[in-house]
Every structure is written in structure tokens, then in C-alpha cells.
């Protein structure tokens, strides 16, 4: 089962700030989803080949040919905060 601590960790990893009440709700709701998927573990999969992609298709490569990039103004227009040249984000210090 999913613990409150698990949900707390996942929210931290997803950069989500949850209130105590939200943490309770999420623990319960996410727990139900995980429990539902958990049912798959009841199946015996010993003789089933591991699946790494749901669709049985072959990969297609692209040639190493230059395509035009989008203009900088167009790209930066979507950013919540930008200068003429850069995306601006709250200070990232250190590594």
C-alpha cells in the first residue's frame, strides 16, 4: 500500500507543495489507483516475455539533416518570464 510518506516523497520529486489535507486526499486517491493496478500482480507471468513497448512496431530513424529551428521570439513567447535572449527562472545556485 501507498503510505503518506510515499506520497510526500513523490510530491517533492514532482515539485508539488501539498497541504496536510491534500496529502491525505492524495494518499487515499493515489492508493486506490495503485491498488487497482496492483491486481496485475495476481497474474502468473512466469512464461510471458517482458514487454518494453505496448505496440509491436519497428523503429524508424531520421536522417541527420538540418531542419529550421523556431525563431527565438516564438519560443520565448511561451515562457512565463524571459529576456530577449534567455528564459529567466528563479535563481539556480550551485549544482
Amino acid at each position: 500500500m501507498l503510505s503518506r510518506q510515499d506520497v510526500n516523497k513523490v510530491s517533492l520529486l514532482a515539485r508539488l507543495q501539498l497541504t496536510e489535507a491534500e496529502l491525505d486526499t492524495m494518499t487515499s486517491q493515489l492508493g486506490q489507483i495503485v491498488g487497482y493496478v496492483e491486481q496485475l500482480n495476481e497474474l502468473d507471468t512466469k512464461s510471458v516475455e517482458p514487454l518494453s513497448h505496448p505496440v509491436d512496431v519497428k523503429n524508424v530513424f531520421r536522417d541527420d539533416v538540418l531542419q529550421p529551428s523556431l525563431p527565438r521570439e516564438t519560443m520565448l513567447a511561451n515562457a512565463p518570464h524571459a529576456s530577449d535572449e534567455f528564459y529567466l527562472v528563479p535563481a539556480v545556485l550551485g549544482d
Binding site: 523503429n59 523556431l70 518570464h81 529576456s83 535572449e85
Partner: protein, 488 residues
């Protein structure tokens, strides 16, 4: 006996030489204006789909084969998830449990004897995409960090070694040989200043105690910006780990793995802020990318197209050109173009040793003195061949040969033209014999000396001959005079 063994493993990131990014057609050119080489795919806009660059995959397989790796017949792509402003998708496309290659090796050796020859094992090589760059300009006093996403999605090869290195010098030797191999393969320019080659090191100690060897906690060292810094950083870190061990007696597993950054100015490593959450990347297969299968035919095809690699070329120079391991190492380590120059000269003059001497003493010295590459060098291999043939044939001695070489270099002349410009003429054989006969006849005392067993006395004939004709070949004069005396 030392108190501990140093255990080092490396993780090397190499930028592959493609024109475009791994999953889109944006340029990978270094140094462009910020955020001018991006598109919805590499910035992770919703609804876009990545399509893999065939050349990136081919270069990756080529490199892995040159590193003697096994190529997996089936390989897939995974999302490595973490939040950082320079990673617009919120995940990096990488390879987790089924990398395209694994279990290879690279041999290091050193004819100067500073390190023992050794085969270092490669754990895996996998393909992934690069992140962007974040810059925080504290001087400007801005509260914001600036993000440039040009580099986002550039194809990177991650090469992970086994912890097989036992000294910082071995780590440096591995990197030097790896870089040489990559440039021979033409898969990367390996420019560390531009970030085309990045190195992280994992290091710990095996301390010798009465109770046997004890492993200390592992430290990852980052921010090493040159091979020299790698050696210095790891040397520093080994000593630091020894101090820490003596104080704390902490064993592997007692504390989590620490990350430290090398400060090249201060000559120390510093602990980096521990990101406990970042250790959980929650990899899962990327549903947007299809696994790739590689047939054994394809592997054989790439293998056969690898060309001659540095180790094989060293062996060939030693066996077929008769030069020492030291000399072949020097030549091969100059890179493919310079080695080709040597080969052209050695083949042209049919003398590997003479070519090696001139290549090292004259060509390489000039390149070093004038900070030139072999491509910029003014004397083509064919011109040097013409000069060395004259030296080998006795037309020129080494001293005059060097004068001719200097004239060829500085005035762009052929060997013949340079000789003419210097007033060097070949003395006709009959003229030379007549001259020798003249001085032998005029110096009965020296002749008697030589006949008495002092062959060295014939050396004074050279000076006399040169006074009469500055173009005579000293070795030839001595030879002819000795012959004449023997016939007397």
C-alpha cells in the same frame, strides 16, 4: 607497502559529431546565439514526438565496437526524471536497463614506463540526450538564472568504466587513450572547453588493516575540466579520503555516496549540496520511442568499417616500420592526420627510422614551436620525402639537410629549389674522386697514420675537401679516401 589501494571508476560523456540533435532537426553547432537552436520537440512541447537520428545511433555503435563492447540485439529508451530548469521536458531520454552496449575494454600502456600496461573494463556505453545550460550571473546582481536550451537534446554517449583504475595516473592514461580512439573514429571532437567531453570520477579506498581490506565510502568527483585536473582532483581526493578514514573509520555503506566538486584554482574538492530527492529518477520506458533491434550483420558491417585504431597502428609501426614502441607511441598519439603524414614520408623514402627521426625532431618540433596543426604544416609529405631521399642517398648530410628543410619550410620551396637557393650542388662523383686523390697524395703522413691502423685520421681529409669545395658530402669524402688508401 602502502596503507591503501585507490579504486577509481570513470563516467565519461562524449558529444557525438552529428549535424542535428538526437530527436529533432535542430543544429548542434556550438557557440550559436542563445535559444536560436530549439524547436517544440527539443523543448518538450506537448504533442510532439521524438524521432531518432540514425547517424547518432550509428556513431554510438561504432564507438562501442571500438571499445570492444557487446552490442545488444535489442535496446530501448527510458525516461530519467528530474526537475531542473535546464531540462524542459522534466525528464531526460536515456537508457536504463537495456543499454545498446555493455562489457567492453580499453587497453592503456606507456612506453615511458610510468604506468603498467593494463586492460580496463568498460561496464556499459549508452546513448542519451544532453540538457540545456543554466547561468547565474551574480555580478549583474540579477535574482534570476538565465536558461539557454540550444544544447538540449544534443546526442551524448555515456561511457561507464568498471572501478579498475588504481591510480589517478591510470585514470588520466585511460582518458588520453579514449580521446585518441574517439578522434581516430571521428565520432567526436572531444573538445573539453566546449563540453564535448566531460568526466566524472568515482573514487574510494581499500584500506589495508589487520582484519583485511576495508572499503571506504565512495565519492563522486565532478567539475574536472581537463585531463590534468582529473589527475590532480583524484590525487587530492585520495589523500582526503585517507585523512577522513583515519579520523572517522567510516566504511562503505555507513554514509550515502557523496558528490564533491573540484575547484581548479583552490586545488581542492568541495562537498556539493546533497540532493536526496535526485537519487530517485523513477526510470520507465519512453512510450514515444520504439525499441531498436540491431542485427548481427549490421554489427559485422560496422565492425569491418572501423578502420585502423591507435593500438593496431602502434603495433604496425613497430613491426613493419622498425621503430621503437616509444617512437610509435609518439607518432600515433599525434592523431590520425599526423600519423598519416608520417606513414606517407616513411613509405616514400622507404625508411621508417629516418622518417621517424625527422618527423619527431623536425616536423613535430616545428608544429609545437609555431602552434600549428599538421594540416597547416607548410612542407607536404612528398616534399619531405624528396629531401630525405637526398639525405639517404648521401647527397646531403644531416646538417645541410636541416638547412634545406628550414628553407623549404620558410619559403615554401621544394627540396631541389631550396638546395639551389642555398647554393648547395651535388658534386659529380668523378670530380669528388679527383679531389680525394689530390688530398690523399698531398698528405702522406696522414696516409701512413691510417695505414698504421688509425682510421680516424682520415677525418681530417673532410675539412681539407670542404675547403676546396663546400658542397662535398663529408661521409662520402671519408669513404673514398679510405678506399684510395686501401688500394695504395
Amino acid at each position: 607497502m602502502s596503507n591503501y589501494d585507490i579504486i577509481i571508476g570513470l563516467e565519461v560523456h562524449v558529444q557525438l559529431q552529428t549535424a542535428t540533435k538526437l530527436f529533432c532537426g535542430c543544429s548542434t553547432q556550438f557557440g550559436a546565439e542563445p535559444n536560436t537552436q530549439t524547436c517544440p520537440v527539443c523543448t518538450g512541447m506537448p504533442g510532439t514526438l521524438p524521432v531518432m537520428n540514425r547517424k547518432a545511433f550509428d556513431l554510438a555503435v561504432r564507438t562501442a565496437l571500438a571499445l570492444n563492447c557487446q552490442i545488444a540485439p535489442f535496446t530501448k529508451w527510458d525516461r530519467k526524471q528530474y526537475y531542473y530548469p535546464d531540462l524542459p521536458k522534466g525528464y531526460q531520454i536515456s537508457q536504463f536497463d537495456l543499454p545498446f552496449s555493455h562489457d567492453g575494454w580499453l587497453e592503456i600502456s606507456d612506453p615511458k614506463g610510468k604506468i603498467e600496461p593494463k586492460r580496463l573494463r568498460i561496464q556499459r556505453v549508452h546513448l542519451e540526450e544532453d540538457a540545456g545550460k543554466s547561468m547565474h550571473d551574480e555580478v549583474a546582481g540579477s535574482a534570476d538564472s538565465r536558461i539557454d536550451l540550444n544544447r538540449t537534446g544534443t546526442p551524448l554517449l555515456e561511457i561507464v568504466t568498471q572501478p579498475d583504475m588504481r591510480s589517478p595516473a591510470e585514470a588520466k592514461a585511460f582518458l588520453t587513450e579514449l580521446k585518441l580512439l574517439l578522434t581516430y573514429l571521428g565520432v567526436s571532437d572531444c573538445n573539453m572547453q566546449e563540453g564535448s567531453l566531460r568526466v566524472d570520477g568515482n573514487i574510494n579506498l581499500h584500506v589495508h588493516t589487520d582484519a583485511g581490506k576495508i572499503a571506504t565510502p565512495i565519492v563522486e568527483v565532478k567539475n574536472m575540466n581537463s585531463f590534468r585536473s582529473v589527475e590532480r582532483a583524484l590525487t587530492y581526493e585520495a589523500e582526503r579520503l585517507w585523512d577522513v578514514w583515519q579520523e572517522s573509520k567510516q566504511k562503505l555503506g555507513d554514509v550515502p555516496k557523496q558528490t564533491r566538486g573540484w575547484d581548479d584554482q583552490a586545488n581542492i574538492t568541495r562537498g556539493q549540496r546533497h540532493k536526496e530527492e535526485s537519487s530517485d529518477y523513477r526510470y520507465f520506458p519512453d512510450p514515444d520511442l520504439v525499441p531498436v533491434t540491431v542485427s548481427s550483420e549490421r554489427v559485422a558491417e560496422v565492425q569491418s568499417g572501423l578502420g585502423e585504431l591507435p593500438a593496431a597502428l602502434r603495433t604496425r609501426l613497430e613491426t613493419s616500420y622498425g621503430i621503437t614502441p616509444y617512437d610509435s607511441d609518439v607518432i600515433v598519439n599525434q592523431g590520425r592526420a599526423a600519423a598519416d603524414y608520417y606513414l606517407a614520408v616513411a613509405d616514400g623514402v622507404a625508411d621508417g627510422k629516418l622518417a621517424s627521426n625527422w618527423f619527431q625532431q623536425d616536423v613535430l618540433r616545428t608544429l609545437n614551436d609555431r602552434s600549428l596543426t599538421i594540416e597547416q604544416f607548410g612542407v607536404p609529405a612528398t616534399a619531405l620525402v624528396a629531401l630525405l631521399k637526398k639525405i639517404k642517398g648521401g647527397e646531403l648530410d644531416n646538417a645541410r639537410g636541416r638547412q634545406v628543410f628550414a628553407a623549404m619550410l620558410d619559403q615554401g620551396l621544394s627540396a631541389d629549389a631550396a638546395m639551389q637557393a642555398l647554393g648547395f650542388e651535388q658534386v659529380d662523383e668523378s670530380e669528388l674522386v679527383a679531389l680525394c686523390q689530390e688530398i690523399v697524395a698531398a698528405n702522406p703522413k696522414i696516409v701512413a697514420d691510417v695505414k698504421g691502423g688509425n682510421a680516424k685520421a682520415a677525418g681530417s681529409f673532410v675539412g681539407m675537401a670542404k675547403k676546396k669545395n663546400k658542397n662535398v658530402n663529408p661521409a662520402r669524402v671519408q669513404e673514398i679516401c679510405l678506399q684510395l688508401i686501401a688500394q695504395m
